[in-house]
């Protein structure tokens, strides 16, 4: 057990000390900060916070209707003017960025006129006035309907026990699967590659011989896998921390981000699936590294392995349109495709509990079997120094006690 931890620690330090790892680990947060920074700068520079004026000849607009929008974002001051002349004067003096004019027959012919100087009012201003208009118009309706008309429809799919639900309300529910899958593939392509490389290199430079006089194959492969998982967790922690901070900071400047709510259930599912899925691909990479006689040949095979995990991406349209199709359910249960498929389905349907339990259990069992397979093939690879492993040889070793 001690050796297992020693190998894990060594592997962690070795990978985390590589320049390529540092670049990919720090590169993503830098990219996130950059994107958020640009978004904030663009939002701030494009945002004109001067009030918007209006001239209401129809008499339907009540300033206190803004109270209905008390929780609405964005906030912007609306100023009523008695006539077009005073509103125009305010516009020319720069007090307001634009003003609307509602004619007397607005309710019969709902056309409003917008006046501005040389620059069209910001999206924020137009959005705000549209809210204000809507709030005034719904005031004539019963209070129970006002909220519904103001905010439109919300579709929520719930499981029969009411414990889980999928809602179209929270945009983050749709964003998280994509972000998680992107993170997964970046992690797989970088750290999974390290695992393969580490085994192939040690085999080529014969460090393996020294290690094998100190360790068992299980300690070596198990330790490497643990080290790699720790590396991935570090990477993920840094990425998620940066993303969270970016959203919190960005929300101060970008109104759309204030509506973001953390989808805890989806995040929990992501975390629960991510680890075994990662262990599985890492162990398969190790198997290829141990079995392939040359690094180059191993890299080609590892490319095919990646395909096993990215397979559901080819069926995104079906997942979105028909998330409970038997084929999609099959992809949800199959170990190499379950992580990606479950995440994408999550936003569009309530996945039955038995499917979640079955797919996760299969994934964990396959991941553990993957480590076992890697250790066995690694051991066989040691026995067949410098020679390619035949499928027959691998099968014979796996069947041996």
């Amino acid at each position: 057990m001690r050796n297992l931890w020693l190998v894990a620690r060594h592997e962690y330090r070795k990978i985390a000390g590589k320049k390529s790892f540092l670049i990919s680990t720090i590169g993503i947060p830098i990219l996130i900060c950059l994107v958020m920074g640009i978004t904030i700068v663009v939002t701030l520079t494009a945002m004109d916070r001067r009030p918007v004026g209006y001239v209401d000849s129809s008499g339907i607009l009540q300033l206190d209707a803004q109270q209905l929008l008390a929780d609405e974002q964005p906030r912007l001051l609306l100023v009523p003017y008695p006539d077009g002349t005073s509103a125009r004067a305010a516009l020319e003096s720069g007090e307001i960025q634009a003003y609307y004019v509602l004619p007397t027959d607005y309710l019969e012919a709902p056309v409003a006129h917008l006046y501005y100087a040389d620059k069209a009012p910001s999206q924020l201003a137009r959005q705000r006035f549209a809210y204000f208009m809507r709030a005034n118009l719904v005031q004539q309706l019963p209070e129970a309907y006002q909220e519904r008309v103001l905010h439109g429809s919300q579709l929520t799919v719930r499981s029969s026990d009411g414990a889980r639900e999928a809602s179209s309300d929270n945009i983050v529910d749709f964003a998280v699967p994509f972000v998680a899958v992107i993170f997964f593939f970046i992690a797989v392509l970088s750290a999974g590659g390290y695992m393969f490389q580490a085994v192939a290199d040690e085999k080529e430079n014969r460090t393996m011989e020294v290690l094998m006089t100190s360790l068992t194959a299980n300690e070596l492969i198990g330790g490497k896998s643990l080290g790699l998982i720790a590396v991935v967790l570090t990477q993920l922690f840094l990425w998620i921390l940066t993303l969270t901070l970016a959203i919190i900071i960005g929300a101060q400047f970008v109104p759309e981000l204030q509506a973001v709510r953390v989808p805890w259930a989806l995040l929990a599912v992501t975390a629960v699936y991510f680890l075994p899925a990662y262990v599985l691909i890492a162990s398969l990479m190790t198997t290829v590294g141990a079995a392939a006689p040359e690094t180059e040949q191993g890299q080609q095979i590892s490319g095919l392995l990646n395909l096993l995990f990215t397979f559901p991406m080819f069926f995104l349209a079906i997942i979105f349109a028909n998330p409970n199709h038997p084929f999609i359910v099959l992809l949800s249960i199959f170990p190499t495709t379950s992580f990606t498929t479950i995440l994408f389905r999550w936003s569009f349907t309530v996945i039955p509990l038995w499917q979640l339990a079955l797919s996760w259990t299969l994934l964990v069992i396959t991941a553990l079997a993957g480590i076992w397979l890697a250790a066995r093939v690694f051991r066989l690879g040691m026995l067949q120094y410098g020679q390619a492993l035949s499928l027959k040889g691998i099968v014979a070793t796996l069947r041996a006690r």
Binding site: L6, N205, E209, M212, T213
Partner: protein
């Protein structure tokens, strides 16, 4: 005394290639044992089977009295492979500490011991360099440190003098001798016969995967006395019948005879040749080099292995 290493009728093949066909020997505590043989004879394969890196097809390799290599026994082994087994892209000090801790040392003891060894091998100033930045000789010294740092009872060293200059070669020889005196079991594989002659008590010579010579160095040399002659004279002494190898040195000739060849018959054959004039002819005590050549080059080698 119980042998530390007991190898019995070892056989190991890789596909159709029979790397080791029948190798047997024993190594005892307090001795330096030479594992010799030409390139491709099966020395390294024998070592790898012995250390449980390869599984044998048949035969047994027993270390410390047990067949299976337990974790405890693994910590008692120091192995220097012929191809240096160090991480090239890592720094020297952490690499050596890692390997030492895998052998059961705690970090504090490993650091203390490492400092002593680094000073002794003149590597202390280079401890923060990456392994690949070190010269070939330095890497060899670093690998020797990795082999000895945990104070193993069985030391298996494959070509320990590879890449070393004369000063460091002497240092390594001194250390090997110190370890022998401390009661360690040392198994050394090398092509440098003069080093074997200077250090080893006993040897095994493997050729084509089989044991062809086995026993005490002095006894083997006695048995092979008469298989080499020194002579001085004029003429061409190459291509003589019953002579495996002819070397000229400072005007003298050293002839290695084939097994079974008689020096008297050689002398008579030389005397009948008009183109040759002999000034001196004497039996030479064979060096291990001569014996190696005689056994390996002799196509009709008779069974010389001694149990």
């Amino acid at each position: 005394m119980e042998p530390t290493v007991q190898v019995s009728h070892l056989v190991k093949s890789f596909g159709k290639v029979k790397a080791v066909q029948d190798v047997s020997f024993e190594v005892y505590p307090g001795e330096i044992f030479g594992l010799l043989g030409p390139n491709g004879a099966g020395k390294t394969t024998t070592i790898r089977v012995m250390l449980d890196i390869f599984k044998p097809d048949s035969g047994t390799a027993t270390l410390f009295g047990t067949g299976a290599l337990t974790e405890g026994n693994k910590q008692r082994i120091g192995y220097l492979p012929e191809d240096r087994g160090l991480y090239k892209d890592l720094k020297l000090e952490p690499t050596l500490l890692y390997l030492a801790t895998l052998k059961g040392l705690d970090m504090t003891s490993a650091r203390e011991r490492l400092e002593t060894w680094l000073h002794r091998f003149d590597l202390y100033e280079h401890r923060h360099k990456k392994v690949q930045e070190l010269s070939k000789g330095m890497q060899q010294k670093a690998q020797i440190i990795a082999t000895l740092l945990h104070d193993p009872d069985l030391i298996v060293i494959d070509e320990p003098f590879s890449g070393l200059d004369p000063v460091n070669t002497r240092l390594v020889k001194e250390i090997i001798e110190e370890l022998r005196q401390a009661g360690k079991t040392i198994l050394m594989s090398t092509h440098q016969m003069y080093q074997v002659e200077a250090l080893c008590n006993r040897i095994v010579l493997i050729n084509d995967g089989r044991t062809v010579l086995y026993g005490e160095v002095n006894r083997i040399k006695r048995e092979f006395a008469g298989n080499a002659v020194n002579l001085q004279g004029q003429g061409d002494f190459t291509e003589l019948p019953g002579v495996l190898e002819a070397r000229q040195n400072n005007g003298s000739w050293h002839l290695t005879l084939a097994p079974g060849a008689n020096p008297q018959e050689l002398f008579r054959a030389l005397a009948t040749r008009e183109a040759i004039k002999i000034e001196r002819f004497e039996l030479a005590e064979p060096s291990l080099d001569d014996i190696f050549v005689a056994v390996v080059k002799g196509n009709d080698t008779e069974e010389l292995a001694h149990a």
